[in-house]
């Protein structure tokens, strides 16, 4: 990747912290192989924030678990390379992975109750990682746990430290999970839908907490969500996934101002916005997410896409890379395809998408007109005849 040093990112030596290339995860199911993640590649610098967006089943969680090497061994295979600070994650054994989880990479899951041990006191759970990785005594781990609870904003930590997870509210539990993840000061935190089970107010608090801790510890953050609204103000770059593939990748500001992939546009338009009048019609994505064991040939989104033409059904578009139009600086480098980009001061800021008729181009407008004329898409832009 870019070998230029980036002065405004302390601790960065120019190498990406995490480099994922050609990652492919296959589940061997009774009905045949299911490729949940198909040839995904990206890299992340130290201290950078990446958002991963997609619907349920788009492969975003499987991707994060593949990177963490959390998937079971039987009936699942992962290929490709995952390099964490030069260490090849894919070749690590169980014992070496245990060394990595905690001090190097940590994860926060969607359901806080499911990731906490119900019969272990909170203080012990928070301090457990420190006792294992830092060889702290029980007493030292407890005082470190106390500090961590304070840091993640748990009121009355002296009381909470001896309570059990079921005595806390959902938001507090998620704070505990974050405290556990932060305990050994990981260099990368992957948060997989950390706020989906929570209220909007608590969600805002948790996201603020993650951001504050990330900034303080100069940690890299991968924020996985189905809600574009969550990643909008809180990431440097966003990856949009569909059917196990990256369909668009751009710096956050570029993605929102100049989205190219019809799927991203459709996701964006389906969000109800406070600025809209009440009873405003939401634009929906017609059809169903694809059957992962029986993917369409060509573009996987074509059957639900309002711009889709014959070409889209025949041939799968490649991930095209163009320079991002804004000068906003991304902390993330290119595709992980090699160190060819930019030896100069600014890292290359690129925008990639996988589409023959990118949104906002004349081609797309014409394609949409043709589809409306042929009756495949209705006036509101919703696909009404899915199978062409």
């Amino acid at each position: 990747m870019s070998d230029a040093s980036v002065p405004d990112l302390p601790g960065s030596d120019g190498r990406p912290l995490l480099d994922v290339a050609e990652l492919r995860t296959t589940f061997h199911t009774a009905v045949g192989p299911l490729v949940a993640v198909d040839g995904v590649g990206w890299s992340l610098r130290r201290g950078a924030r990446l958002g991963v967006v997609g619907e349920s089943g788009s492969g975003k969680s499987v991707m994060s678990r593949s990177i963490m090497r959390l998937l079971p061994k039987s009936r699942v295979t992962s290929t490709g390379s995952v390099s964490f600070d030069g260490i090849d994650m894919m070749s690590l054994g169980r014992r070496e992975l245990l060394e990595m989880w905690g001090p190097q990479l940590a994860m926060v899951f969607q359901d806080p109750l499911g990731s906490l041990n119900p019969v272990m006191k909170i203080g012990k759970q928070v301090g457990e990682g420190l006792r294992v990785h830092r060889d702290l005594s029980a007493r030292a781990a407890r005082s470190a746990a106390f500090d961590l609870l304070e840091e993640v904003g748990i009121p009355e930590p002296h009381r909470r430290i001896d309570e059990y997870p079921h005595q806390l509210s959902g938001g507090m539990r998620q704070r505990i999970v974050i405290a556990i993840a932060l305990a050994c000061s990981p260099r990368l935190l992957i948060a997989d839908e950390p706020t989906t089970a929570l209220d909007v107010t608590v969600q805002a608090q948790i996201l603020d907490l993650l951001e504050a801790q990330r900034a303080e510890r100069n940690m890299s953050l991968v924020l996985i969500t189905h809600d574009l609204g969550i990643v909008a103000g809180r990431t440097d770059e966003i990856i949009v996934m569909y059917a196990g593939r990256i369909v668009e990748r751009a710096p956050t500001a570029t993605l929102f101002s100049d989205m190219r992939m019809p799927y991203t546009e459709a996701l964006f338009r389906s969000i109800p916005k406070v600025s809209d009048d009440s009873h405003a019609r939401l634009e929906i994505i017609g059809g169903q997410p694809p059957q992962m064991t029986d993917l369409p040939s060509g573009c996987k989104f074509a059957p639900r896409c309002k711009y889709a033409q014959d070409l889209c059904y025949a041939e799968e578009p490649a991930l095209i890379e163009v320079p991002a139009p804004t000068r906003s600086r991304s902390a993330i480098t290119g595709d992980g395809t090699g160190g060819s980009d930019g030896g100069g001061g600014e890292p290359d800021v690129t925008h990639s998408y996988r589409c023959f008729y990118p949104v906002g181009t004349d081609d797309a407008a014409e394609a949409l007109e043709r589809n409306i004329a042929s009756g495949r898409v209705n006036e509101a832009g919703v696909v009404i005849r899915a199978d062409d």
Binding site: D199, V200, P272, D276, D277
Partner: protein, 570 residues
């Protein structure tokens, strides 16, 4: 945040809930004040959005309107009919007009039933109430309800002890009777009632005490031993642990009694003659007849249990016989059983088939309304559908009885944004098509704004603000509404992250703050807010707020300054 006061209610509402109070008993004799005097009304064809954080009582309010459970106090009127005073039967007749859609579509649909039966269920219940009342069924229902109402009054542990005791009581009587009469040989029919009546009440009390002790011990053991999740999830699981303990205790007690009786007689032959067994058979027969009189209510499993019990008894009888007669009785009872089973199953199935046939066109129609192809879906089961489709099925189930009001409890909270949009549009279409009246409960203000004609904001069991959505979202009048608005994630990287202002957690509903309940998190709180509970009042046409210093209308900002100034002085 008071929500006391009914200034926002209208006279011509279709549904009107006044001063709803819902309180739950908590451990240590404390009380959870879940809903404390909420008044809502709903005009025909209107969608009322009910927003607030989890734990604010919005779902409890929705359920209280449905009488699930009944509110502690307050009134609910649907088209002029008072629901809180109706008995269980009458409520069942009202429910087809008042339906509910739940948050989690998968777990609110029975995984073992087919879509056609799930969607048609509200129709069966409606039909059953109107036309299926044989004298026997009514009698059975009355007895059942009497028992139920007695049981409902007792606290949960007492109820379990009662159940266990009654089972153990019957077994004890049988064994005692048999033992007492053993020396005399044959047990006379006339002696059975005397033996039962003569049984000392004291024994029952002792027994109940012992069983309660045993049950308690087992409960504690289970609570310690049962794995993840069980202890912390709510009541349902705890009571299932108690239920499990009940089964263990009952099974143990039965086994003990059987062993005791048998060992004191040394054989099945005496069992046969004991008469107690015949009594038990008679009880089971009555039970069977009652279940058969109304298989819809007893359910297939109820009937099956009864039949199995009969067969077990027959085995006992047959075992006591000798030689050729044994074989003959065995064959005869097998034939009788086969015929009986066949008759029961057919009766059960014929009823179901007739119902199904009558309901089918209606079910197909609503499935089409909600955008599900009935030809594909009718014979599938809920887990074969994705979350969004399953939510469509829930909506179809709610629509099938043509309700006047549907209460939607966070219907899109567990769905992806893209699916959420589909469901919101669907609800909007159905509303225009069928003139539905909805209560839409959610914590996401953007969603609520999209569907609602009127929005009510709740906080800790009280109402904060009731207003038409566009006005409320342009300029929130209550500080809590403002806070909720700031928390919405905006799909715009330029948007200000207003979330920094959101501090603190919802206070415990067991110990709500005095005065205005929001004051502990309110940036504008003054002394007056702690002393005096604000009343709901109209600050602009159609805008009602329960706040001493609303952010809209009159001279709001000045009042805020004055309040903080006076606090500084003091």
């Amino acid at each position: 945040m008071a929500g006391s006061g009914n200034a926002h209610l209208r006279p011509d509402a279709l549904l009107s809930a006044r001063d709803l109070v819902v309180e739950f008993p908590a451990a240590g004799g404390r009380t959870v004040y879940a809903v404390s005097g909420v008044s809502l009304d709903l005009a025909e064809g209107e969608t009322l959005g009910l927003v607030g954080e989890s734990g604010c009582g919005k779902s409890t309010t929705g359920r209280a309107i449905l009488q699930l459970p009944r509110p502690t106090s307050g009134t609910v009127q649907l088209a002029g009919q008072e629901l809180t005073e109706l008995d269980e039967d009458a409520i069942r007749e009202v429910r087809p007009r008042l339906q509910m859609i739940y948050q989690d579509p998968i777990s609110s649909l029975n995984p073992r039933r087919r879509v056609r039966d799930i969607v048609a269920e509200p129709l069966f219940i409606a039909l059953e109430n109107v036309s299926r009342r044989t004298a026997m069924a009514v009698w059975q229902e009355r007895i059942g309800e009497l028992l139920q109402s007695l049981l409902r009054r007792a606290a949960a542990p007492l109820r379990i002890v009662g159940r266990l005791a009654s089972v153990a009581f019957v077994l004890w009587i049988l064994s005692e009777t048999v033992e007492d009469r053993a020396a005399e040989g044959w047990l006379g029919w006339t002696q059975v009632p005397a033996a039962i009546i003569g049984f000392p009440t004291l024994a029952l009390l002792l027994l109940a005490g012992a069983i309660a002790l045993l049950g308690g011990l087992i409960w504690v053991l289970l609570a310690v031993m049962l794995p993840f999740g069980l202890m912390s999830r709510q009541f349902g699981e705890v009571s299932s642990a108690v239920g499990l303990a009940g089964v263990v205790v009952t099974t143990g007690a039965s086994a003990f009694m059987l062993w005791r009786t048998w060992s004191s007689f040394g054989g099945w032959a005496k069992w046969l003659n004991s008469g107690g067994l015949i009594l038990l058979t008679a009880v089971l027969a009555v039970w069977l007849v009652l279940s058969l009189a109304k298989p819809e209510r007893a359910g297939a499993s109820g009937v099956a249990t009864t039949l199995s019990a009969m067969v077990v008894l027959q085995v006992f009888y047959v075992a006591g016989l000798d030689g050729g007669i044994k074989l003959a009785v065995l064959v005869a009872s097998a034939v009788v059983d086969a015929l009986l089973f066949r008759w029961v199953l057919r009766r059960y199935r014929v009823n179901r088939d007739a119902e199904r046939e009558r309901a089918e066109p209606r079910v197909r129609e609503v499935l089409e309304y909600v955008g599900i192809n009935p030809d594909d879906a009718m014979d599938r089961r809920p887990w074969e559908f994705s979350g969004g489709q399953a939510q469509r099925l829930s909506i179809a189930r709610a629509l099938v009885s043509v309700p006047q009001v549907i209460i939607c409890d966070e219907p899109v909270s567990s769905l992806d944004v893209s699916v959420q949009a589909q469901i919101l549009n669907l609800l909007e279409d159905l509303k225009n098509l069928m003139g539905l009246t909805l209560i839409f409960i959610a914590h996401d203000l953007a969603v609520v704004k999209n569907v609602s004609d009127r929005v009510a904001v709740m906080y800790l069991g009280k109402l904060c603000e009731v207003s038409e959505p566009d006005a409320m979202f342009d300029a929130p009048a209550h500080p809590y509404t403002e806070l909720l608005l700031a928390a919405i994630p905006q799909p715009d990287p330029e948007a200000e992250l207003g979330s920094g202002r959101i501090g603190g957690e919802l206070p415990s509903p067991m110990d709500p703050p005095s005065g205005c309940r929001f004051r502990t998190r309110c940036p504008h709180a003054a002394q007056r807010c702690a002393d005096e509970e604000p009343e709901m009042r109209e600050i602009a046409p159609g805008r009602f707020v329960a706040c001493h210093t609303p952010l809209v209308g009159e001279t709001a900002p000045v009042r805020v300054e004055m309040a903080s100034a006076s606090r500084d002085e003091s």
